[in-house]
């Protein structure tokens, strides 16, 4: 193994990317776009759901329910005097829900408390709900339940939240580590794949193969190049995350970088092994969705793995990004060291070892069949 040959390969790969300004721009802008686009559009935080609130009881208790609902960012509450036809309000006036608190609600509510569960009379809140969007509907249900539960001293129970990581974690906070892994994987895999296929098509690969360059030097040359690129991309994600979204970074940023670079190594391996399955650049493009879709849909990047149907969930554990997400979230959000998230760390390490080993084997085959 000679470092000057590794350096030559690294330098060459970086030069090629440097010359292709479109690729360069894509590489640098992708993390930014992904952060801003997903960060805003996919924050999962629902807001401005229009709700009509009809209070027929008019007590302190019902007033504090209204207050609670109004304090919730998700809702835009319009108090109405009466609602004879709640369905008409939903269909014609565009409300997502009508909440009606009937007369005597408060007295039934307290009576129920005083007498315990044995009573049949119970305070009832009327909820007419447009369920055409299940996500909005469930937000309304949860918001209403919260509003009724959290009534302070007058209420039935008091929930005290203790935040494990010191602050409230928003979607964007746990999304940033995922997007870091995602852009690094996408760029490293796709560019390595294209670059190696191009070498085969153009014949430069044969030339390198008969030269003193060893397979290991070739792969390490690529790995170093994309490791550096991964570092730059992580920096972009973190910078935007911190400045635009003020994301929570609880752990050591250095660990996050190291783990991202490790993930880039595995991605280079993945790109190299996929390159053996493509003879031309257009054949290589077939693999892009194969890399992209499972990572977006199954890795727990957009929604938790628990939200993925049980039948598909085993596939999630075959997606490398799943492990990178666990690892990077553990480091950045939970403030753990990598070994404190052994599943994530082991997953990423297995990804690296496996892809690099297979890549090394298929490179031999790509060169012809010799050695």
């Amino acid at each position: 193994m000679r470092t000057h040959r590794v350096r030559a390969v690294t330098e060459r790969v970086l030069r090629q990317i440097w010359h292709d300004k479109r690729v360069l721009a894509f590489m640098m802008i992708l993390p930014a776009i992904a952060m801003v686009l997903f960060g805003y559009s996919f924050s999962g935080d629902i807001s401005d759901v229009r709700i009509a609130f009809v209070d027929e009881d008019g007590t302190d208790l019902t007033a504090s329910i209204l207050e609670n609902l109004q304090a919730d960012d998700a809702f835009d509450i319009t108090p109405l005097e009466a609602a004879d036809d709640p369905e008409k309000l939903l269909l014609d006036d565009g409300y997502a829900a009508v909440i009606r608190i009937p007369d005597k609600f408060t007295s039934l509510y307290y009576a129920h408390f005083a007498m315990g569960v044995a009573t049949s009379a119970q305070g009832t809140i009327d909820l007419t709900l447009d369920e055409s969007d299940p996500q909005i509907a469930s937000t309304v249900r949860m918001g209403l339940a919260d509003a009724v539960m959290d009534l302070g001293e007058g209420g039935p129970v008091d929930i005290e939240t203790r935040e494990l990581y010191g602050v409230e974690i928003r979607f964007i906070d746990s999304f940033a580590p995922a997007i870091m892994g995602f852009v690094v994987m996408l760029i490293s895999t796709v560019l390595t794949l294209l670059s190696v296929v191009r070498e085969k098509v153009d014949g430069t690969f044969s030339r390198v193969w008969v030269s003193p360059v060893r397979r290991a030097e070739f792969i390490i040359g690529y790995v170093v190049a994309f490791g550096l690129i991964a570092l730059v991309q992580s920096l972009i994600v973190l910078t935007i995350g911190k400045t635009v979204f003020d994301i929570v970074i609880n752990g050591a940023v250095a660990w996050a970088f190291i783990c991202t670079i490790l993930f880039a190594v595995g991605s280079v391996g993945l790109g190299t092994l996929l390159s053996s399955l493509a003879q031309t650049e257009s054949q290589a493009i077939v693999f892009f969705p194969l890399v992209l879709l499972p990572s977006v849909l199954l890795s727990g990047m957009m929604w938790p793995i628990q939200a993925i149907p049980r039948l598909l969930r085993p596939l999630s554990y075959l997606v490398p990004l799943t492990y990178s997400n666990r690892l990077l979230r553990a480091i950045m959000v939970k403030g753990l060291d990598p070994w404190e998230e052994p599943v994530g760390l082991a997953g990423v390490l297995v990804f690296v070892v496996l892809t690099i080993a297979v890549a090394s084997a298929v490179l031999r085959q790509s060169a012809g069949e010799a050695e």
């Binding site: 000679r2 014949g203 044969s206 193969w209 003193p212 069949e369």
Partner: protein
């Protein structure tokens, strides 16, 4: 160098791809200082033969040796001493001429000053001087081919394996390439090249006619002409005719 008899040698070498015999028992030996031309139609097995000599493909039978080293097993011992030009214009299209040469120099362990010096020499030789910072994909076909040849010559190898180095070039440029080959040859390089331009055979020291994976004639152009003339009974001077006569003279028409 006395550790080998032939610069390029094959001993009954064969390469089968399934049922197809791309090369079917070829024996040849090329001495130091020769220009040897493998001549034959496309698909005759020229490229496969060159790939086996360069170590890119393993023979399925027989042996291939480069500078006395069995290929591909011992290729690491002689990898610095030969230059290879693949049939594709194998250069990095998104790098400049300088960067292409820099990379190929670096992987052969050349220092930057030496690469810079050789780059100047080669660009001068190949008439590419003004294009140092031009990207390879903006070069014309002929320029790209000259760059590809320069990449093979950069580390000053003593043996050159050139696969169809003049393919697709106009006649004038082909003559220029052959001037380069003769210049290289007179500075002591041994060259094995393939071509399907039959007239180029006349410019080699020795020619191997290859058809359907078999070597059907091997000798100096004049000797081949004499042989063809003897068969046809008239004076043959065109290599194209020589090739046709020698092909037809094969008992099986060259078919294995």
């Amino acid at each position: 160098m006395t550790d080998f008899q032939y610069v390029f040698a094959t001993f009954d070498v064969a390469k089968r791809f399934g049922a197809l015999a791309a090369v079917d028992g070829v024996s040849l030996g090329i001495h130091v200082g020769e220009i040897y031309g493998l001549v034959g139609p496309s698909g005759a097995g020229k490229t496969t033969l060159i790939r086996m000599l360069s170590g890119l493909a393993s023979p399925t039978a027989g042996r291939a040796e480069l500078l006395g080293a069995p290929m591909p097993d011992a290729r690491r011992t002689i990898e610095h001493r030969f230059g290879y030009m693949p049939q594709e214009r194998a250069v990095y299209r998104d790098l400049t001429i300088r960067e292409n040469l820099l990379f190929f120099g670096q992987i052969y362990g050349m220092t930057r000053p030496r690469i810079a010096g050789r780059t100047r020499e080669l660009l001068d030789l190949m008439k590419l001087e003004g294009h140092l910072h031009q990207r390879a994909d903006r070069l014309s076909g002929g320029e790209k081919q000259r760059l590809s040849l320069a990449c093979a010559l950069l580390h000053e190898p003593e043996a050159l394996l050139l696969d169809e180095p003049t393919i697709g070039l106009d006649p004038a440029l082909r003559r220029e390439f052959w001037d380069h080959f003769h210049a290289l040859n007179s500075s002591g390089r041994t060259i094995l090249l393939s071509t399907h331009y039959l007239n180029e055979a006349a410019w080699c020291d020795r020619v191997g006619l290859i058809q359907r994976g078999r070597l059907i004639a091997d000798g100096a152009p004049d000797a081949l002409r004499a042989e063809a003339s003897r068969i046809s009974g008239r004076a043959e001077s065109e290599m194209e005719d020589v090739f046709l006569i020698l092909t037809r003279a094969q008992p099986t028409g060259g078919r294995p």
